[in-house]
Symmetry: none
């Protein structure tokens, strides 16, 4: 039997709060998705004004980051055509659900994935900064 | 009437065993999928720690390799934008089910496709080496 | 943080072996799928002669049973039209991935779901008996 | 290694010809799909006036009949709500690709499935009669 650690609802809320504070600071209403370590949704918040298509993309980013145990932007850097050692083409896997756009990060505790956070509605850089802010807030306030 | 040769369940297991040995050797828990010559799944193994999104991708690689009778990395090399003689764009076919990421190989017996093997969870190189190891193990131990 | 128990690969194999023994006993080659507690595939075996459409249905049954923590046949009994207290209509949820046909059972340890088993290729009764045989074999041989 | 018999293109054409003759006799332009034993399309003909939605349904019927080794109308009879031993709910499996509407028949040679035929555009009875006519024509003229 495997023993798995998974984000609880209260921990998911801490992640959302951290991301939301950053979103408010930069003035971009975001879609914020938190998944468990298996990529299944735990919590979601579309801030007033968050974009419709970002509802799905935020979830896809969180799913991808949790499943792959890396940031979605890392996939983006490896998706360059014309090099068979690269990952070009993976961006259409799972009907496009595998997201390679920055803004998804795995949530790690003691080196193990316990969930994923995905942000969408801004530029990739804005999305990434909010995802990172969620992670940092979680690491600071989740004792 | 056409006469077709198809991997049996026991042969599929040989392929999985060969791939798994390589995966253990390189220390990467893999998703390993074996399809028949028509691309339909025969056997699947997610080694403990294999990635969630790789469940689908491993199957898609095996499907693509069996159907196309070539390695998925060959599609990758041909998916370069801006050349009408190349295959760029095929990576989105079948809702993304056609995989162009390395790690899928056809299983050939006497020059005919009898199945496909698809590996996912590592880098394309790691996935390709495990797929190749499965093929070699099959060729060695399947009399 | 939540602590989750999840079937390992070796435990998944015990479930498959138990189901396969029953399938051989009744002479029906089955598709056998094992998922983890989150409904993600761990292991799959299409016995020689297992049906093509059952590849997906077996996985869907295991997913549904693990997710719902009940047998898929229980959903079937509740899917009767014309009673607002019943579940009729749920059979189309998730693009039909939610299966209400008998043959899916949750795998429980100490009252908690650790995975799901799904069987397809026979009648619902045959599928159910093989799923049950898998569970019983697991309970007997998994110390 | 399994040895499989599969309809050839010329045999698929015989099946289409038989179905088309019946369709002309009853005055209903049909969509006629022939799959191999794995449910993959070999040949398709939309007679002038055949319905658009039937393009997909004819293929789904042929796929289902080949995969299940029975007529799609047999599934229809078993899809009655409120009996857990019945198959109600299976009609939505595979995103609805599993068809339970009459008009799909397996193509058998020496008791083994070698393909499937699916007809759509008329009533289920009309579709079934054309599928049956295709089978009979095949059995008569395919020496």
């Amino acid at each position: 039997m495997l023993s798995i650690n998974r984000l609880s609802q209260s921990e998911a809320r801490i992640l959302i709060n951290g991301a939301e504070r950053k979103a408010e600071e930069i003035g971009v209403p975001m879609c914020i998705a938190i998944t468990d370590e298996s990529g299944n949704l735990i919590a979601f918040k579309r801030m007033d004004g968050g974009k419709i298509h970002s509802i799905t993309i935020a979830q896809d980013k969180a799913f991808t980051a949790a499943s792959a145990c890396k940031g979605t932007h890392e996939y983006n850097e490896a998706c360059v055509p014309g090099n068979k050692n690269y990952l070009f083409g993976i961006q259409t896997a799972l009907g496009g659900r595998l997201s390679i756009v920055g803004g998804g990060l795995p949530v790690l505790v003691d080196g193990n994935v316990v969930g994923g956070i995905g942000i969408s509605s801004g530029t990739p850089q804005q999305d990434m900064s909010c995802a990172q802010a969620g992670i940092e807030y979680f690491e600071k306030y989740n004792l």
